[in-house]
Symmetry: C2
């Protein structure tokens, strides 16, 4: 059976649970605390040398890390990964945007505000991170005003990757009220067959 | 002909030039200044809504952004992208590591130190960013001490992605002297057929 090293508060981990559920694959969840160093023990670094969740161990014992790489692994050969090369590259474009411009702002602000509480270290960085998060949301709104999904008129792992932290962005104080296209897209994603919530 | 929106100081842009050169593909270079707002003009945002270089315009006029997504597009169907699904996922794992943990530390420190000069805004962040860069280099060293290349015993786009900023990390003050496995790997990458330098 697949083993997912997981975290109930991590949108990155939720992406994997969401896709596996939509594919009907069963897996064992191992909950890790992302704040107490337990993802940096020598034992866990054998699973993921980068020291983060999610990481998954395949049935033959091979570990795989980085949420969007795990999404790719399970999506390939399914409708969640496009049949056309250009569309596959566009899915990756949005997933790299998510990991470079979206997650480090929106997810980090949410984690600071909703889980860790503001500290003397994080408080000065909050305005810059929040502004970066709104820039990412602006990019998404611009695209979704003209497209039903991120790539090729259908739900793919690009949507899963971007849904994970966007739908809980309000927990970090982001106001999605000014983004009607994002809100309509969030509802389309949540209506997909087999959808589960981050709290499921 | 392909049009690459490029920057001579960007490792992300260099990745694309390096792969295109190794594939023998010709392209037109359009140099953009990454610091004066010229990647955020309305005209350029039509090419790349994320407002960054590199971006490439394909022969049919379709734009594609995000350096590692562009690498994927041109590598698919060539030896630079593995034939096995697990190895493809591992290539993506290392490319997402590069964009999340490596580029935002090593490339950003280099840009601040070597191009922009330290400012009152960047100076306080330098120690944290530098420490993050060394953590990324530690992860690479641990892997390369046991592997000739990042994935599957051969040179792939994972190596191109990680080479781009690692080989100029010293420009940001990083000491690669303590990383013998990285140094040996840098030499192996530079010895690949068709290799070009970032200054070429």
């Amino acid at each position: 059976m697949l083993t997912l090293y997981d975290s109930a508060i991590s949108g990155n981990a939720y992406k994997v649970r969401l896709l596996l559920s939509q594919l009907g694959l069963s897996f064992r969840r191992v909950e890790k605390n992302v704040d107490d160093g337990s993802t940096r023990t020598p034992e866990f670094l054998k699973v993921n040398p980068i020291g983060k969740v999610p990481a998954i161990v395949l049935e033959d014992g091979t570990p795989l890390a980085e949420s969007d790489a795990i999404l790719y692994y399970f999506a390939e050969g399914t409708p969640f990964w496009p049949a056309q090369k250009l569309e596959r590259a566009q899915v990756l474009q949005w997933m790299f945007f998510e990991q470079y411009s979206h997650e480090p702002t929106i997810a980090v602000v949410r984690h600071w505000v909703a889980h860790l509480g503001k500290t003397a270290e994080t408080e000065p960085l909050l305005p810059v991170k929040t502004a970066g998060g709104y820039r990412a949301l602006d990019v998404m709104e611009g695209h979704l005003a003209r497209h039903e999904y991120f790539v090729g008129h259908r739900y793919t792992i690009a949507d899963i990757a971007l849904y994970a932290y966007t739908h809980v962005a309000h927990e970090g104080g982001f106001d999605l009220g000014r983004y009607p296209a994002i809100q309509a897209w969030l509802a389309r994603v949540a209506a997909q067959p087999g959808h589960i919530r981050i709290t499921d």
